[in-house]
Amino acid sequence: MQGNSKFTTDLKPVWCRGCGNFGLYAALTRNVFPSLGLEKDKIFVVSGIGCASRIPGYMDTYGLNGLHGRSLAIAQGAKLARPELTVLAVGGDGDFFSIGAGHLPHAVRRNFDITCIMVNNFVYALTKGQTSPTTPSAPPGDSTFLPSRSYPPVNPLLDMLSYSVSTEASFIAQSLSTDIPHLSRILTEAIAHPGFSLVGVLSPCVTFNPPHLFASIKDNASYLVEGEPVKLPETTGRNSWLHDPGDMAHAMALARIPITEMPFLGVLYRGAGPQ
């Protein structure tokens, strides 16, 4: 897969075969960067620590695989200092939602032109399978997913979408690493967006996720198309509406529907860049 693009290095990714990170890698290096006409020496990819965070090493741009949870801090410093750079902050659900959860709302409110790519594989993969804040909890005894490791058990999972919707990120979208064309379109738009953009990439971990997780995500996925009716899960008992990414209240309503019930793919919200 690598070597096909001027944006790749000759380093072989260490990811497991079939890992969702390959999809993100392909989307960025083969579609997104070329289609935006970016120069590789004007791209800076900062990541945290984790499987997803390995990505800068494989891209022939400026890249830093930094510290767990801190990509946004480093990215903001670089962007402020050199505004002509295209700055990406990439990491996992653990990076952005657990150890780095305190940086995200501040990056959002500053609204600098940074694209934050949160690779959500619902698990701590690099450290071999612990629960992350996005891990769906399993009833005790159900071994198909990770137990909620806590006494007493912790239930509700953190939903990055509602989290960032609440702080009103100026661009919020979600895609799937196995749908490379869709992911490429979303990322292209996110990078082109003049303010802070947050893209959640649902991404199978073939090693630590139970296979049914991604099967069900694909089955339940609802693609958002501007101006068309939104497909809602039946349980909501709500009438559908025409999708309007300019409407924060609608974005919030979408965000409140758990990912495990119906993951929305597309642009949830598109607001203004910094004034």
Partner: protein, 555 residues
């Protein structure tokens, strides 16, 4: 590979063999290069030798990633599957074995090649086949072998079929089955034995197994376990639980330890018992996460702003992982202080098979000094006393209340802003730890008592140094000092130095932190040498044999 090693070690342990199985990882996330080494011993879990008798390799294309750490001798029997890279020189005693194919043909899948190889190795060692068969039928952990018994038996038969060499293995000292555990589980075991009932942590290689072991242990005990959002929170939760009287622990590795620095200072300032286990890996920064180094010493001892005294202990083998974890909990409680227990990747992830009773003799439980119910006047959380230790009410205890903080405070715990109070706080916190300097039992000295040539080492390095001393029969020529308590450093270490003409400091870190630390608090012999290098590859017997021989000869 880890599975094969584990099964073999288990099979041997059930027949009474001790042994040690360190692990080695390459760069890949999963399915990449992994290796283990495995020793069998009849008495104790000795270190594997540098040159293996038998090497099994499933994939030479990955071998080179960790070849550096594995070693291969002209007489090693090499059993390998798949292609050998052309530039690669194999010893004459090498033989291709189609583990893959055999597994495929017998079990319908190449994935059971481990089981085939297990049979081959069990026979080559040789283990008692009758006992092995019985164990496979009875032992729950060997169920995977039972399910694939034909593969196992095919592996056994390979030995005759291919005329593989059969080694000579002394009979085990006794047939009592051995306990299997790695250093990380030994730490958890020790903590739980010492009454620890709360664990808060955040995953990090190579410390995560402590978290996992604590989760498994605390569930049934009705303890408290939580995976926190980060290491700052884990350490904070430990302090919260500890304040209520619960013995609480966290475990991490370098990067996490960095993040706990501020909480460590609060624990020191406000005198809150807390234990942090640091399973060291190659640094600085992310470094080499899956390999050992002894480079967190400086931070463990001096890390954090202000003068924040703490105790630092260091495990050096798996028995001491357990014992010193108990000791750490005890010291934290007795002295109302943070304690850092240093371990490392080698210790943490090496599995040993060992006599059960080796782990039995833990230290007795020590208690927090508690206030009497009939205290006069307002309760003084930080009351002055000769030993510097004040009676500590647990948050929630009936009839007491107190307020405290990381601010300089008076005896009642109220903020104070004057020099006298400040100086007294420092004095109290330092003084109470002084008595630890008399803990002679936490400094091991071995070798020639009267020798004027001494070696000092700590942590897993000490284990290699000791083995090599015995390998080379140097125990009549030199002596070794191995402090388990590093801070405050027991007086016994100075006594050791006082009787030396020459000293050798051996440590697995680039800059010689241990030497610098010793020098900062002791008088060292004028002729002191250091052998220090970066981690990333553990010391081998061969490497240290050279170092020790030279020292003993020159000494």
């Amino acid at each position: 590979m880890v599975l094969l090693g584990s099964l073999l070690q288990r099979l041997a342990a059930l027949q009474g063999y001790c042994g040690q199985m360190p692990r080695y990882y390459g760069a890949q996330i999963r399915g990449g290069a992994t290796a283990i080494r495995l020793s069998f011993d009849i008495e104790r879990p000795s270190l594997p030798h540098d040159i293996p008798d038998i090497l099994v390799c499933f994939d030479f294309s990955q071998y080179h990633e960790i070849e550096d750490e594995l070693g291969l001798g002209a007489k090693s029997a090499v059993l390998y599957d798949g292609l050998v890279p052309s530039h690669f020189l194999l010893p004459d005693t090498s033989l291709p074995v189609n583990f893959d194919e055999i597994s495929q043909s017998i079990t319908g899948s190449p994935r059971n090649k481990n089981i085939v190889a297990l049979g081959t190795l069990a026979r080559m060692l040789p283990l008692s086949m009758d006992d092995a068969r019985a164990a496979i039928d009875e032992d729950g952990e060997l169920r995977v072998v039972q399910r694939n018994l034909p593969a196992f038996l095919a592996g056994v038969e390979l030995v005759d079929g291919l005329s593989l060499p059969v080694l000579e293995l002394s009979p085990a000292a006794d047939q009592r089955p051995r306990v299997l555990l790695h250093g990380n589980s030994a730490v958890a075991e020790g903590a739980v034995r010492a009454g620890c009932r709360a664990f808060f942590g955040y995953p990090i290689t190579p410390a995560s197994e402590i978290m996992q072991a604590m989760e498994e242990a605390l569930g049934p005990l009705g303890g408290v376990y939580l995976q926190a959002e980060d290491e700052i929170a884990s350490a904070g939760m430990v302090l919260g639980a500890s304040l209520t009287g619960m013995r609480a622990l966290t475990a991490t590795s370098g990067p996490g330890l960095d993040l706990m620095t501020e909480m460590l200072g609060l624990a020191s300032a406000a005198e809150i018992p807390m234990v942090i286990v640091d399973v060291q890996r190659g640094g600085p920064s992310t470094g080499i996460p899956s390999k050992s180094e002894q480079s967190d010493l400086g931070h463990a001892v001096c890390g954090g702003h202000g003068d924040a005294p703490r105790a630092v202990l260091a495990a050096w083998d798996i028995e001491s992982c357990c014992r010193l974890a108990s000791e750490s909990v005890n010291i934290a409680e007795e002295f109302q202080t943070p304690v850092i227990l240093l371990s490392d990747q080698w210790l943490g992830q090496t599995v040993i098979a060992v006599h059960e009773d080796m782990l039995k003799a833990g230290p007795a439980l020590r208690q927090r000094k508690r206030p009497l119910g009939d205290h006069q006047g307002p309760y003084q959380r930080y009351a002055w006393s000769d030993d510097g230790i004040s009676p500590m009410a647990n948050v929630g205890d009936k009839g007491f209340t107190y307020q405290t903080s990381g601010l300089t405070h008076d005896e009642e715990g109220r903020p104070a802003f004057d020099f006298q109070a400040h100086q007294r706080c420092h004095e109290k916190r330092h003084r109470k730890l002084e008595t630890l300097k008399d803990r002679h039992d936490l400094v091991k000295v071995m070798g020639a008592e009267d020798s004027r040539a001494g070696i000092i080492a700590w942590g897993s390095t000490a284990q290699v140094v000791i083995e090599v001393m015995y390998d080379l029969d140097l125990q009549k020529q030199v002596k070794i000092c191995l402090p388990e308590l590093l801070c405050p450093l027991p007086n016994k270490v100075q006594e050791f130095m006082d009787n030396l003409d020459t000293l050798l400091v051996v440590e697995l870190d680039f800059s010689g932190q241990f030497h610098a630390y010793l020098r900062s608090c002791l008088e060292l012999p004028a002729r002191t040498r250091i052998y220090a290098r970066a981690g990333g590859r553990p010391f081998s017997r061969t490497e240290l044999a050279g170092v020790l021989t030279e020292f003993a000869d020159a000494g």
